[in-house]
């Protein structure tokens, strides 16, 4: 496997596929910022300290995604907009485990 595909929900609820090469040593936060998603700010640079990279994972039970560690959960739980599906995209390293992940990107910055 050379690349994975992540699906990003659009305003009309359809999904836009995003192909990401494996082995790029990047987090989803960096990938999404690079793609120009402006509501993914990533102010703390990926240290799970700011929450400004949050995304909603819509199919977490269908894919092979690892759960959040305590550090990430603690940050997520301090966010006023937290739902059980929220993840910090900076903590999602691009690996084959993300293949097929469907996400919603928040409409507003935090």
């Amino acid at each position: 496997m050379d690349s994975i595909t992540v699906y990003i929900q659009q305003d009309d609820f359809s999904f836009q596929p995003l192909e990401i090469p494996l082995g790029i040593q990047m987090s989803m936060m960096e990938v999404l910022k690079g793609e120009g998603y402006e509501t993914i700010e990533g102010i703390c640079g990926g240290m799970a300290l700011c929450g400004t990279c949050r995304v909603e994972v819509l199919n977490k039970d269908e894919i092979n995604l690892e759960g959040a560690n305590d550090n990430e959960i603690c940050m997520l739980e301090t966010l006023p907009c937290y739902t059980g599906n929220c993840r910090l995209s900076c903590q999602l390293q691009v690996t084959e485990k993300l293949d097929g992940m469907k996400i919603r990107i928040p409409a507003d910055t935090l």
């Binding site: 102010i43 300290l49 700011c50 305590d70 959960i73 603690c74 739980e77 301090t78 966010l79």
Partner: protein, 333 residues
């Protein structure tokens, strides 16, 4: 009215270092920050993290760097207005400025240096339908005067350091205190977590874990809140204040309204002196933008030094001479 030579908007590391550079050139500074403490991103987002790229310090803690900058600025007697946001800037006929904060504090300054970083740290607000109706009538996002809560019934929501710290502090002040957190783990110093749990065990506070505030009620002012547990059960408890302490996030804020050239949430500057398109207003640190800009502390320090030389020329009408601190020392005011 407060009067000063340079009014620095933002007390982050760059604003703090500008006090020192201005002081060497005999200019006084007054700083305004919306945060109740100095240090900007360092004290608000990562106080306990090490920084490795401050020249001359192989490693320095973020809060330690802020403390050192305050120490370095001390000889120049800076003054501060903290917990207030600069809302308006009015240019006077003589080229000076009057700045007004959201609490109506007025500052008269010859020059303005905007060191506003990523913008004003604004509180993150929970999504509760009628939240805005109770702002100023019981809903608060920051503790500025703890005495306000004396003998009142208060509810604190949040799971970070500020929620924990204020719970510990207000436990003895408030008539009744309930802490509500939507999880079970806290994002704060382990010592504070233990203390809060002990306060709950001793019956001094009520701790509602796995819960959320979902409703606000009261005629004209807050009288009670609904606490909903993750298992779906809900209850109303009476309270005078609801402190939503979900941390702060930077937003550009009022800076956008001051007639400056703004692109992508940053102010375009002339790299010769970091001046903006408005004469007498400079922008330094993370808030400015120019070709090749790096949002790093050390770049902000460099910008502060150059800005102060230009500001001195503007204020005194002649170019200042460059003096080494090794030769002249640091002559306090």
């Amino acid at each position: 009215m407060i009067t000063t030579d340079i009014c620095i908007i933002g007390a982050g590391p760059v604003g703090l270092f500008a006090i020192f550079e201005a002081g060497l050139l005999k200019m006084r500074c007054h700083l305004v920050d919306y945060l109740p403490q100095v240090g900007g991103q360092l004290s608000e987002i990562y106080p306990k993290k090490p920084i490795y790229d401050i020249p001359g310090y192989p490693i320095v803690g973020a809060q330690e760097l802020v403390d050192n900058l305050m120490e370095q600025a001390k000889p120049f007697d800076p003054t501060f207005t903290l917990g207030e946001r600069v809302e308006e800037i009015e240019k006077q006929e003589d080229g000076s400025f009057i700045l007004t904060t959201h609490l109506d504090t007025k500052i008269h300054a010859k020059v303005i240096a905007i060191a506003g970083g990523l913008g004003c740290f604004e509180p993150r607000k929970p999504a509760i339908e009628n939240l805005a109706d109770y702002e100023k009538n019981g809903v608060e996002y920051m503790v500025l005067d703890p005495e306000k809560y004396r003998n009142k019934k208060s509810v604190i929501a949040g799971g970070g350091d500020s929620a924990l710290d204020w719970t510990m502090f207000l436990a003895d002040v408030a008539a009744e205190l309930t802490m509500v957190h939507r999880g079970e783990m806290f994002r704060g110093a382990p010592d504070s977590v233990d203390k809060v749990k002990q306060l709950a065990a001793d019956g001094k506070i009520k701790l509602e874990l796995n819960s959320n505030i979902t409703g606000l009620h009261g005629a004209g002012k807050l009288e009670s809140v609904t606490i909903t547990n993750n298992d779906g059960t809900a209850k109303d408890i009476p309270c005078d204040y609801y402190l939503a302490l979900f941390g702060l996030s930077p937003k550009l804020g009022p800076i956008a309204n001051w007639g400056l050239n703004i692109e992508k949430n940053a102010i375009n500057v002339d790299t010769r002196d970091y001046s903006t398109n408005v004469k007498g207003i400079y922008a330094i640190g993370d808030i400015n933008n120019y070709e090749g800009k790096l949002k790093l502390i050390l770049c902000g320090f460099h910008e502060a030094a150059i800005m102060c030389h230009s500001a001195s020329e503007l204020i005194l009408g002649k170019k200042p001479t460059l003096k080494y601190t090794t030769v002249n020392g640091v002559n306090s005011f």
